[in-house]
């Protein structure tokens, strides 16, 4: 009995002891498992965050680097290319800007009825060059290999180490990258002023002085679409919802414009786990340009002719005269009745007495405002902020001459700092800048824009000399002029020619 009881007590004691120990071991094990699970969860969570952050950084790098991709362009547009003669995201809107100005000029020329066979041809060619360059650039900036390479530049530096030491972050295999045109209707990187656009041409939609991006508009029956690159914005990440709403595939913009947003789909292949993430980013080259045709000029042509008449009949061939007052012996020994002889003289070139081109252009009365307005509008296509005051001062600074050229010079390689100059054209000598010397075809017909009122006996006057008889002879001069404007599209650099023609008729009336 004693032994049995004692054994029972011992067993009970052992069991109780065992229960406590098991409890301790189980609790310790549970705690250890809990810590292990928490650590694994942390590893996965942090690894996932590492992948997301790495894909964000890689996507941002794509948006940053994609602006460095460049494509070549035709020589006619070399003035709006970069210093290497190439076109990228930075200056594609500049290319479209030049094509737009040429077409706006062509549209205005056509509406004024001044088009010739070259007008439409040159405008079409300008559009074709811009479209071709644009399409090549779109192909380049959406090239999977190039975008993958930009992605990998960062992905190789930012692996998700928590998912395994040899984890590898790369882009998800697929046909190509998703691209979008975000910020539709926002500003592009091309500033412009409505005064740059000729009257009668379609004006580009504006957003704070910039052409609106991804907002197609029409000029010369052609569709123009600029890419949005919001001023003062850096390349940045954007939300998937914004990207999806502007996706190029599901919501395209007419005209195949260059996309400004890219979606990176990355996958991290790790030993512990493989995780994928995506990020969308918006590119911005952070360069702004002005709407302009950098290599362009206008010309001023002046000519003077003297006509010599006796009794309304031409008594001597017309003679050109110069740009300073001079006595011209126009009629020499004209035979009159009764053996009298007439010598006719005239003081010509008095309209140029002022000694300046501006004074000469205004010498005869007439509404000269239009000629300056037309010139100024075209100069604004080269330098947007050129003023009437500056134009007058420039014309005031030079003496009158048969031909002048008004053109820009640049200090910067990308031709963004025009300074307007004027120089006389001397026959047989090259023009001031090499780009002006190519053969040009005038792509607009001349139109009379100012009819200078006829003046009698001023500023030029005439007098006769009669030999052998009655010296009576009535005489008077008729001084008049016309100003014509031949507009150009700018495709061949010529934006227009102002043609001033002056005529002095010396009349002698005697028997």
């Amino acid at each position: 009995m004693k032994t049995a009881n004692s054994r029972l007590v011992k067993k009970t004691k052992r069991e109780e002891r065992g229960v406590s120990l098991v409890l301790v071991v189980v609790s310790a094990g549970f705690l250890i498992i809990l810590v292990f699970v928490a650590f694994q969860f942390y590893t996965l969570n942090s690894g996932s965050r590492e992948v997301r952050n790495a894909v964000d950084a890689a996507a941002l790098n794509v948006s940053k680097q994609v602006a460095k991709l460049r494509v070549p362009i035709s020589d006619q547009f070399s003035d709006v290319a970069d210093k290497g003669g190439l076109v990228g995201m930075s200056n594609i809107n500049r290319i479209w800007g030049k094509a737009y100005l040429i077409n706006a000029n062509a549209e205005a020329i056509q509406k004024e009825g001044l088009a010739n066979s070259y007008t439409a041809q040159n405008a079409d060619q300008a559009y074709r060059i811009a479209q071709q360059c644009n399409d090549t650039l779109v192909e380049t900036v959406t090239c999977k290999q190039k975008l993958d390479s930009f992605f990998n530049d960062i992905a190789n530096l930012r692996r998700a180490k928590l998912l395994g030491a040899n984890s590898d972050l790369k882009t998800v295999d697929g046909p190509g990258w998703d691209v979008a045109m975000v910020d539709r209707g926002a500003a592009s990187n091309l500033k412009f002023d409505e005064k740059q656009i000729p009257k009668g041409a379609g004006v580009a939609p504006s957003s704070g002085g910039h052409v609106k991006g991804y907002m197609p508009f029409n000029a010369n029956n052609k569709n123009f679409t600029f890419a949005s690159f919001v001023p003062n914005e850096m390349p940045h990440l954007t939300t998937d919802s914004n990207f999806n709403a502007n996706d190029a595939r599901t919501n395209p913009v007419p005209g195949n414009p260059v996309p400004n947003a890219f979606r990176a789909n990355g996958i991290n292949l790790g030993t512990k786990a493989s995780l994928s993430a995506s990020a969308s980013s918006v590119a911005n080259p952070m360069h702004e340009y002005r709407l302009a045709i950098p290599h362009a000029y206008i010309k001023i042509l002046m000519s003077n002719f003297a006509y010599w008449k006796v009794k309304e009949k031409e008594a001597a061939p017309k003679t050109p005269y110069g740009f300073e007052p001079k006595t011209v012996f126009g009629i020499k020994g004209y035979q009159l009745k009764n053996n009298r002889i007439l010598n006719g003289y005239a003081s010509l070139g008095n309209e140029y007495k002022s000694g300046t081109l501006l004074g000469s252009m205004n010498a005869l009365p007439g509404n000269h405002k239009e000629q300056y307005e037309r010139m100024l509008q075209r100069i604004k296509e080269i330098k947007h902020d050129f003023t009437m005051g500056e134009l007058n001062a420039m014309l005031q600074s030079v003496p009158p001459a048969p031909e002048y050229i008004i053109y820009p010079v640049y200090g910067s390689q990308d031709k963004t700092d025009p300074k307007i100059r004027i120089a006389p054209i001397i026959p047989g000598q090259p023009l001031p800048e090499s780009w002006m010397n190519s053969q040009t075809t005038i792509d607009g017909e001349a139109k009379l824009i100012v009819n200078e009122n006829e003046q009698r006996d001023e500023p030029n006057y005439c007098w006769p000399q009669i030999i052998g008889g009655n010296p009576d002879c009535e005489k008077y001069t008729q001084v008049s002029g016309t100003v014509r404007w031949a507009p150009g599209t700018g495709f061949n650099s010529c934006l227009g020619i102002l043609i001033i023609s002056r005529t002095t008729i010396s009349n002698f009336i005697t028997e």
């Binding site: 002891r17 406590s20 650590f39 930075s90």
Partner: protein
């Protein structure tokens, strides 16, 4: 009668044994509980430290990322340093973080990359001998977005 007295003696003896056994049990449970505590409490405390450490590492990585993103918008090494320091200055660290600072900023316009490393000094909630304070370092690389594309 004799038998009855004998029985009483045996009962008393067993009662004493039972009392002894109960005392012994109680002591044994106490010892086991204490042993359990000795095992479980350090594990629990270590778990607290591990969780605290992981949380600090996590927030340090967040901070390095934020500082690198800020520095990516800077235009020079100095401004990148300033921006990164500003980001670190304006962060609100958890209670156990004693100090947090920018350890290194590498602004490389040639490569178009900026790398920022942050250093966090934290005091473990349950100090371990020799590991009362722990320093953790996190770094992040971002593309520089402040420089315009070449033209």
């Amino acid at each position: 009668m004799i038998c009855s007295a004998k029985n009483r003696t045996t009962t008393r003896k067993y009662a004493r044994l039972s009392q002894y056994s109960a005392r012994s049990n109680r002591a044994s449970s106490l010892v086991e509980t204490l042993t359990g505590f000795i095992i479980l409490i350090p594990i629990g405390l270590a778990a607290v430290d591990v969780v605290a450490f992981m949380s600090a590492v996590d927030s340090n990585e967040h901070l390095a990322e934020a500082a690198a993103r800020g520095a990516a918008k800077a235009t020079t090494q100095d401004s990148a340093q300033t921006v990164a320091e500003d980001v670190v200055k304006h962060c609100t660290p958890v209670w156990m973080v004693q100090a947090v600072m920018v350890d290194d900023v590498q602004y490389d316009p040639a490569k178009g990359l900026v790398s920022v490393a942050t250093l966090m000094q934290l005091k473990l909630p349950v100090p371990l001998p020799g590991y009362e304070e722990i320093k953790c370092r996190a770094s992040s690389i971002e593309p520089i977005v402040s420089t315009p594309a070449p033209n």
